[in-house]
């Protein structure tokens, strides 16, 4: 009892001192610089998605640093961005908690989320406060189908990605003289892989491909020898895997070992095929694998600079980094045009954005119902230990090697 009373007195004293200091100091502090604009950055940096969360965090941090270094938001007298970071701990509940905390701290907007479930829950929570929310990666199309006025997705969603994946594949195949006709689909048996496989199985036959077999695998898989055996007996021209990191690596290694050599491996939104770690650790197994995924625009020189800074910080580079950097820049542009950190005005400015100063292989930004219509994935290919963009040609820095074997 006594202890509680003491603690309370101390807390009150502490609070009182701070309040006093604030009343005494403002004329000096406030006069010098405009009030900073608080920006919520939400990423899962612990738990199962920690690796991706870190990729995103460094991108957002560098984005904020660059905006501040360039003089902040000019329309607001050079107001600086101040990051309020939230760890979504790889689950939607924690994402919502962090949104509530950010709301308490008075952020003007939130950027990030990474995984679809986190983006869904966090943007919903932000919508209650009319808080602008820019989704970085989350590909589930449900995110933009709920009619939330506050939610904007800068990157392409599932529908755009799969459509582009099929278009790109058809055109890469045509350009090479149609060497591939038969396809085997290998997918993880969750929502992501099954949905993708189903779509492929209905769409690809329309373009003259024959689906030989659709093979579902669990996550985690202990062993993919049997899958590889089936692939060897089917002998498809193309193998299309939609699996997570561990299984993709296991499949690629087992295929290499069992000498299954299709004319191409073409993955879609894959967990490993455009991940530098896979390429570095298993250069032989990863070689010539193609992926249709988020990636930066290799022709934009700003990416090379950003990448150098990421390397200098001792961090790894992935598409999340330029994507979050671009999302922060998109937000800064909107606040600049809104001329205010008022939430309703930011939402209005985002909705009418034509922002083109980003690092992604997208056209100018144009939001329709929260989805950026300028966004598109690209087809990448691992060539001699480097991930190259091979399609579309407007953004490519290499030609596709296809078929890999005659």
């Amino acid at each position: 009892m006594k202890l509680t009373a003491e603690l309370n007195r101390r807390t009150i004293l502490k609070g009182g001192t701070t309040a006093l200091a604030m009343i005494a100091a403002p004329s000096v502090l406030r006069g010098a610089e405009p009030k900073p604009i608080k920006i919520g950055i939400l990423q899962p940096v612990t738990g199962a998605l920690a690796m991706d969360g870190e990729f995103g965090r460094i991108g957002a941090e560098l984005g904020i640093a660059d905006i501040n270094a360039a003089g902040g938001i000019k329309a607001l007298g050079g107001a600086k961005f101040e990051m309020v970071f939230g760890d979504a701990r790889s689950n939607p509940e924690a994402g919502v908690q962090e949104v509530e905390r950010m709301q308490g701290e008075g952020v003007a907007a939130i950027v990030g989320g990474f995984a679809s479930p986190i983006c869904l829950a966090a943007s919903q929570a932000a919508a209650r406060y009319d808080l602008p929310y820019i989704v970085d990666v989350g590909v589930s199309d449900q995110i933009i189908q709920r009619g939330l006025k506050n939610t904007f997705r800068f990157a392409p969603g599932f529908a755009i990605c799969t459509r582009a994946a099929i278009d790109n594949l058809v055109r890469i195949n045509e350009a090479a003289g149609k060497p591939a006709r038969t396809v085997a689909l290998v997918h993880e048996d969750g929502l992501f892989g099954s949905g993708l496989a189903k779509l492929m199985a209905t769409e690809l036959p329309k373009h003259g491909f024959e689906i030989l077999e659709t093979i579902a695998i669990p996550t985690p898989s202990r062993d993919l020898s049997n899958v590889t055996l089936r692939l060897r007996s089917l002998n498809p021209d193309l193998v299309i895997p939609s699996t997570y990191y561990g299984e993709t690596v296991l499949l690629a290694r087992t295929m290499q070992q069992q000498r299954v050599r299709p004319k191409g491996v073409y993955s879609v939104l894959n967990g490993a095929a455009s991940n530098m770690r896979f390429v570095k650790e298993f250069p032989e197994a990863a070689d010539k694998i193609m992926d249709c995924n988020h990636w930066h625009d290799p022709r934009n020189p700003k990416n090379a600079d950003l990448r150098k800074r990421v390397d200098a910080a001792g961090k790894q580079w992935n598409y999340n980094t330029p994507l979050n950097y671009s999302c922060v820049a998109l937000l800064a542009d909107a606040i600049e045009r809104a001329g205010s950190a008022d939430r309703a005005k930011i939402i209005e400015a985002l909705a009418s954005s034509t922002f083109a100063g980003h690092l992604m292989p997208y056209g100018p930004t144009k939001f329709v119902d929260g989805q950026n219509q300028g966004a598109a994935p690209v087809s990448t290919q691992v060539q001699d230990g480097v991930i190259k963009v091979v399609f579309p040609e407007a953004f490519s820095d290499a030609k596709p090697v296809f078929p890999v074997r005659a």
Partner: protein, 290 residues
């Protein structure tokens, strides 16, 4: 539906995978047979061992097969220490407590690994990871053949240890009659700890045999330990030949189910066997005890 060559190769794959399953089940069955506890931390210890192999390779440059000897000794010591100073004292002689202590241990270990190694999936690459042995039309992974050989050698050694040495006699005595064993001067707590240590040591061997071709993340142990429990039940709780035979059978069943029903349903066969054994032969294939 599939050519005989493919079915044969799938069965062979199953045998090779099953051998490693057997190795993992071996430790589990030994600990059950002697201590009469179901060690829920078995999977967590396996994950630990796999991370140890990975770290030994990527930090010290130690080949996974050369790491077998030092890691076996280290994991024996860890197992001995954990049983002697954590599980034993914390259980206060109650088997129900032990169950919860091992469950708690598994949660602690898994989260400690998560804190240290993060949740990334890691794998290591050796020059021979992709080597195959050609047997007519069959391509057999060399690493898996080593796995089979390793499992057979460890089972043989363990059997020799239990049948021929004084330690083995003491372990068997404690397993049969704890009170009687302590009356004739056997240090029961020491034997418990030795048994637990051996259980962990087999996991170290299994980890060294797995890592050249497999990956590790903090949750990976769970994928193996569920299968190991099934093998222990199938082979007979506490039976060493049972664990070996059970492992091989489960491996083949899983492989064939995977081939014919699809990988996602491959596990159905395993758990069907689990239920059937519990219904019709609860003592398992080699279980003598009623």
């Amino acid at each position: 539906m599939y050519s005989p060559a493919i079915v044969a190769e799938a069965m062979l794959n199953g045998l090779l995978t099953g051998a490693v399953y057997a190795l993992i089940a071996l430790g589990l069955t030994l600990v059950y047979g002697v201590l009469h506890i179901i060690n829920f931390a078995h999977g967590a210890f396996l994950t630990c061992a796999m991370f140890a192999v990975w770290a030994a390779h990527s930090v010290l440059g130690l080949d996974p097969y050369l790491a077998i000897l030092p890691l076996t000794l280290i994991f024996f010591a860890i197992g001995y220490g954990v049983q002697r100073f954590v599980i034993g004292p914390a259980s206060h002689g109650d088997d129900g407590n032990i169950l919860l202590v091992t469950l708690g241990l598994s949660i602690v270990i898994e989260n400690a690994l998560l804190a240290v190694f993060r949740s990334d999936t890691r794998s290591l690459s050796t020059d021979y990871s992709f080597n195959v042995v050609e047997l007519g039309p069959l391509l057999i992974s060399q690493a898996r053949l080593f796995g089979l050989a390793g499992a057979l050698v460890v089972t043989g050694l363990l059997w020799l240890l239990l049948a021929r040495t004084d330690t083995g006699k003491a372990i068997r005595a404690v397993a049969k009659e704890k009170l009687g064993a302590s009356l004739v001067g056997i240090d029961v707590r020491h034997v418990y700890a030795v048994t637990f240590g051996i259980g962990c040591a087999t996991l170290a061997v299994a980890a060294c045999l797995l890592m050249p071709t497999f990956y590790v993340n903090p949750r990976v142990g769970g994928a193996f330990v569920l299968v190991a429990f099934t093998i222990v039940v199938l082979g007979g709780m506490g039976s060493i030949p049972g664990a070996l035979a059970g492992g091989l059978v489960i491996g083949v069943v899983e492989s064939l189910c995977g081939l014919f029903l699809g990988e996602s349903l491959g596990q159905i066969g395993i758990f069907l066997i689990f239920i059937l054994v519990l219904l019709f032969r609860p003592t398992g294939l080699f279980g003598a005890r009623a």
